[in-house]
């Protein structure tokens, strides 16, 4: 059991252990949806929300149901089902009660089920043996870290698009990967501030 203060964990997940820039998770939607700032932000917000709650739900499921029943080898299947079900539920609720919010997040929600970062956060939580509160802090932090990365890249790509100076072969994913490398270098400056495994 690790004894890290949840607040520390929250900031560590954003800066020093950013789930995208150091653990490479959630790259597919990151590369395909980051064409402009607006959609990048919408997807990011949806990820923060889903990640926080699925981390908590999966934590409860794992420690209250799977461990007592000795079914922990089924964790992958159970986690992915919970994530899919949660996303579906959120989508229906938001559509029914918050049409304005649905307008912003709606099209991004189904994409989230296959976002590796969400499942990744749950798996890290099990491997590092976080408590429920720590898991929620870690989930929220990772979500915000992911959102920061995709928003930053969305904005940079928008600018680059306007400049029109990118070589032909580098357009699209190529330049995005190089920018991500530089972003990742920048975030390495934070390492050493807080250390989590």
């Amino acid at each position: 059991m690790t004894n890290i203060d949840p607040a520390t964990l929250f900031f560590a997940a954003i800066f020093t252990n950013n789930i995208l820039l150091t653990n490479f998770l959630g790259l597919c939607p990151y590369l395909s949806i980051s064409r402009n700032l607006r959609s990048a932000f919408g997807l990011g917000a949806a990820v923060v929300f889903v990640m926080t709650f699925t981390a908590a739900l999966n934590h409860l499921m794992y420690y209250q149901v799977l461990i007592p029943l000795k079914l922990d080898h089924l964790q992958y299947i159970i986690f992915i089902i919970i994530i899919a079900a949660f996303v579906q539920l959120v989508e229906m609720t938001v559509e029914r009660y918050f049409p304005a919010l649905y307008y912003i997040l709606g099209i991004f929600l189904p994409l989230i089920t296959v976002n590796c970062a969400i499942l990744g956060a749950s798996l890290f939580m099990v491997i590092r043996e976080y408590t429920l509160i720590q898991s929620m802090a870690y989930g929220a932090g990772s979500g915000i870290g992911w959102m920061m990365a995709i928003t930053a890249v969305g904005a940079i790509r928008e600018k680059i698009q306007k400049s029109g100076m990118v070589p032909k072969g580098l357009e699209g994913p190529g330049i995005t990967l190089l920018i991500t490398g530089i972003l990742s270098l920048a975030f390495m400056a934070f390492s050493g501030m807080i250390q989590i495994q």
């Binding site: 820039l21 150091t22 653990n23 490479f24 998770l25 959630g26 790259l27 597919c28 590369l31 395909s32 080898h73 089924l74 964790q75 992958y76 299947i77 992915i80 089902i81 899919a84 296959v114 976002n115 590796c116 970062a117 969400i118 499942l119 990744g120 798996l123 890290f124 099990v126 491997i127 070589p167 032909k168 072969g169 580098l170 357009e171 994913p173 190529g174 330049i175 995005t176 990967l177 190089l178 991500t180 490398g181 530089i182 990742s184 270098l185 390495m188």
Partner: protein, 202 residues
């Protein structure tokens, strides 16, 4: 129903023309993370090919009895079952590597390529071409990751598969074994390949 494409066509498409990493930059999430050591990359790629081929074949066998509306859920369950089998096997036989790969084995489930191939190909084709398609796409994917891993391990540690190959006094490029190295390498590969294909198509 249209006829499935011939075998050599499937292989050519998977390996090069429709290479999932270089052309679509899909599915790199879970696998890019382990490219700093060749051994880890090898195990991860075997896992991916194992899951991809068998999932494609299974989805294809079940294609006529799967209700359309819940097909995504069925596919996810098939994929996760194979990943669990792979995970248990490597935990039993190569525990060190299993430890090093950590959560990334489980993340094969959310690898977009597997879902993508099931949706795009296996769902509409008989089992044998679907199996072959999985194999070709998996091999194309593995090749690129190997190319990344070779450079990263060589420059980052000075070794290949753990054997020292660089001369005495070689200073390892620490940046290569850290996250930015992987992003730069993949970015550069995508750049080179796209430029070449564009020249070729002219």
């Amino acid at each position: 129903m249209q006829k499935p494409p011939p075998a050599n066509e499937i292989i050519k498409q998977g390996l090069w023309l429709e290479n999932p990493v270089l052309k679509h930059t899909l599915g790199i999430c879970s696998t890019l993370a382990v490219t700093n050591l060749l051994v880890n990359t090898l195990v991860m790629n075997i896992g991916l090919i194992f899951t991809l081929t068998l999932s494609c074949a299974t989805v294809s066998i079940l294609r006529n009895v799967t209700p359309m509306r819940i097909r995504m859920m069925v596919q996810t369950l098939i994929i996760s079952s194979y990943v669990i089998i792979f995970d248990i096997v490597i935990k039993a036989y190569i525990p060190d590597i299993s430890e090093a790969l950590g959560p990334y084995v489980g993340l094969i489930i959310t690898n977009c390529i597997i879902m993508g191939r099931c949706e795009a190909f296996a769902r509409n084709n008989p089992p044998w071409p679907a199996f072959l398609d999985g194999l070709a796409v998996g091999a194309g994917f593995s090749l690129v990751l190997f190319a990344i891993a070779v450079v990263r391990e060589l420059l980052g540690f000075g070794t290949l598969f753990g054997f020292m190959v660089m001369p005495e006094g070689f200073t390892p490029w620490t940046i290569m074994i850290m996250a930015p190295g992987a992003f730069f390498m993949l970015g550069i590969y995508v750049w080179i390949v796209r430029s070449f294909t564009m020249q070729f198509n002219k």
